[in-house]
């Protein structure tokens, strides 16, 4: 069953449609990249998917239950520069642990599993040794890592990442792709990621969603390419 499905979706800002005729389906456990030139409404597509924006027309359905049967959990990592609240007085540990807050009641006590998942997430992004630092003191790449860690700590059914590899060095990028692939394979999580580095990531992907201009040069639509098996990294 598809986790996310969009049918004939139209959306735009002010009165000009910027996305039109969008049809796509993302199944549970897929690793999908969204790509396209600057201004192709990639972020908008993600926001529509998660229900942060409502479409003008068309239908968007998001599964209400996750793979485990519980309420669908979305771990969202926004584009870093736009969203990170640098002056926020918080330790990294506190910040990543806040990913656990949505599990169960707002008032429950943090249990062993919460601490475990927090630690695991911090280790997965290689930030465990810095966990007592203030989040405002971190570099751009480190901020990106702890945002990813917070999303991982949620044990999400759907991970949505908006250009997560901006500012990462080459080695880190490959480590990150490996980690995401592992998330889909080991836990059956779905990963949707906006990226420009298609050449590097495509060997790890299941599918690519590409936003491109239509012939009339006005509107953009969506094509999906399956990568698994017959996609060659040299395609670009």
């Amino acid at each position: 069953m598809a986790l996310v499905a969009m049918e004939q979706v139209v959306f735009g800002y002010d009165d000009v449609p910027s996305l039109e005729d969008v049809n796509l389906e993302i199944g549970a456990g897929e690793f999908v990249a969204v790509t396209g030139p600057n201004g192709a409404s990639k972020t908008t597509l993600l926001r529509l998917m998660m229900g942060l924006l409502a479409p003008w027309k068309g239908k968007i359905s998001l599964a209400s239950r996750g793979t485990g049967g519980g309420k669908l959990t979305i771990g969202y990592v926004p584009q870093q520069i736009a969203a990170f609240n640098s002056g926020f007085p918080s330790s990294i540990l506190e910040f990543v642990r806040s990913g656990r807050y949505t599990k169960g009641s707002w008032l429950r006590k943090m249990n062993a599993r919460d601490h475990e998942q927090t630690e695991l997430a911090l280790k997965q992004v290689g930030m465990w040794h810095l966990r007592h630092r203030k989040i405002g003191e971190l570099s751009g790449g480190q901020k990106q890592r702890i945002c990813i860690a917070r999303a991982l700590a949620m044990e999400p059914d759907l991970l949505v990442l908006d250009e997560p590899t901006t500012g990462m060095d080459r080695e880190s990028r490959f480590g990150f792709y490996e980690l995401m692939k592992n998330q889909t394979e080991q836990y059956g999580r779905t990963v949707v990621m906006v990226t420009h580095g298609l050449d590097e990531v495509s060997p790890y992907l299941d599918r690519i969603i590409e936003l491109e201009r239509k012939e009339d040069g006005k509107w953009r639509c969506c094509t999906t390419t399956s990568c698994r098996g017959h996609f060659s990294p040299a395609r670009s």
Binding site: R47, M50, G51, L52, K71, T73, I74, G75, Y76, V77, P78, A83, F84, N85, G87, F88, P89, S90, S91, E94, F95, S98, G99, Y101, T102, W106, L107, E116, E119, L120, K123, Q124, V125, G126, M127, W128, H129, L130, R131, H132, R133, K134, Q142, R145, R150, M154, V160, E171, S172, G175, F176, E178, L179, K181, N182, Q183, Q186
Partner: protein, 442 residues
């Protein structure tokens, strides 16, 4: 602790503590949500409510309270349409509130008489209604902050990720705004409309600089707020300065000292490093900062980081405020001399508001009473505000002689000074009867 013998001072300390605690916790959230000026704006808007209340002969405290909440809700909606510039909503609502306040005040000239007590606060004249209001607001706000601490943390960091993780962010944000309006309205009698943001913003501004975790930021902010308000009250009692402004100045001093100490500590740490302190080599970030899909949770490990510098800075600023509070007690002893004691027959203690009232009382009483003037010569009795010393005088006096039209502050001062305390029977003489006032007023 002589000042604590007075009912009005006890009330001031209690009210001040309640509001300081919730207002400074609120400040942390407001600052991080880029709404630091919201408190300032809401207090200006609630002036419109106070003016309307006075004009319609309703309780101005309650109408001001209601309008502050309405203003907070309005901000919430304006903010949604100017998402990236949330300070614009502040300007828009403030213009609306302040301009209607001025026009309503102008409709009824007699209204603006007692406005200085709203503008600059009169914590020593807090009456029972206001105290109950403050108590209710602080209990409600405390519950909100405690029960909602996790959702508030998530929403304050980033609304989008909070929304996608399933929080009802719109409702939470609205509730937060309503709580903000309530706290601001309840804080106004303490420092006044013009200085409300001192109570909300200053403790939070320092706490955010010093704290290494969110819980610590809230805790520090509350400690600074409480220390500032209490030492401000004590200093205002000792030096006979207006309480609202004294509190604001002390909060500012705490902020400056705190930032200075933090800077000093950082510089000292830097110098230590330069002197070739080897110590333990830092973890190599390059080695450790790797993505790992095979990471495992260990049983125990890692290093605990010392936060001694921050703790020290916090302690010293608290100590400064305690010191100031101590000053207050020491300085107030000379006050005890105003009550006649010993074996000579006790003279009647008379307080008079401004000079003509003083002269009148002196002529009537002759040498049978001690008459004290409250409003010093050359000061406009309209705009004058009683300091804690004056309130002490009023609360000790057997008789208070005042005009009743000119002194906007008198009624509140009497009700605040007159309840409880020494249990002596007191009389309040008004130079003119009520119906007389009406005739001259028309």
């Amino acid at each position: 602790m002589e000042m604590l013998h007075y009912d009005f001072m006890q009330r001031a300390f209690l009210a001040g503590a309640l509001i300081a605690l919730v207002a400074s916790a609120l400040g942390v959230y407001l600052m991080l949500r880029r709404q630091a000026l919201m408190a300032d704006m809401l207090s200006h808007v609630s002036l419109a409510g106070i003016a309307a209340g006075a004009y319609l002969h309703w309780n101005p405290t309650l109408t001001g309270f209601a309008i502050a909440i309405v203003g907070a809700v309005a901000v919430e909606y304006v903010r949604r349409s100017y998402k990236t510039y949330s300070e614009i909503s502040v300007a828009i609502i403030m213009v609306g509130g302040l301009s209607s306040a001025v026009i309503i005040m102008n409709l009824n000239q007699s209204v603006n008489k007692s406005f200085s007590s709203y503008l600059f606060g009169s914590v020593v004249a807090v009456n029972r209604t206001e105290l109950i209001l403050m108590l209710a607001v602080s209990v409600l706000a405390a519950l909100f902050f405690i029960l909602m601490r996790r959702p508030l943390y998530q929403m304050t960091f980033d609304e989008d990720t909070a929304k996608t993780s399933g929080l009802p962010v719109n409702w939470l944000s609205l509730a937060f705004s309503v709580v903000t309006g309530m706290i601001v309205a309840a804080a106004m009698p303490i420092v006044g409309v013009l200085l409300v943001s001192s109570l909300v913003v200053l403790p939070a501004a320092l706490a955010i600089r010093l704290a290494s975790s969110f819980a610590m930021a809230i805790g520090l902010s509350m400690a600074f707020g409480l220390g500032g308000v209490w030492s401000g009250l004590a200093a205002s009692y000792a030096f006979s300065t207006p309480p609202g402004a004294t509190i604001a100045l002390i909060l500012l001093a705490i902020l400056l000292v705190g930032i200075g100490l933090k800077k000093g500590a950082l510089r000292a740490a830097k110098r230590k490093n330069r002197l070739g302190q080897t110590g333990a080599a830092p973890d190599s970030p390059y080695e450790a900062a790797r993505f790992s899909s095979t990471a495992r949770v260990a049983e125990k490990g890692g290093v605990a980081r010392m936060r001694a510098i921050l703790a020290k800075a916090a302690l010293s600023s608290l100590a400064v405020s305690m010191l100031l509070a101590g000053c207050g007690n020491g300085g107030s002893n000379d006050d005890a001399g105003t009550v006649a004691n010993g074996d000579s027959p006790r003279k009647l203690q008379v307080a008079a508001s401004f000079y003509p009232m003083y002269e009148f009382a002196r002529q009537v009483a002759g040498d049978l009473a001690d008459v004290t003037l409250m409003v010093p010569g050359g000061v406009e009795p309209h705009d004058w505000e009683p300091t804690p010393k004056n309130m002490a005088l009023l609360s000790k006096a057997d008789v208070f002689v005042y005009n009743g039209i000119v002194e906007g502050w008198a009624e509140q001062a009497i009700s605040s000074a007159g309840s409880g305390g020494s249990r002596r029977r007191r009389s309040f003489f008004r130079a003119r009867a009520r119906d007389g006032r009406r005739r001259t007023g028309g």
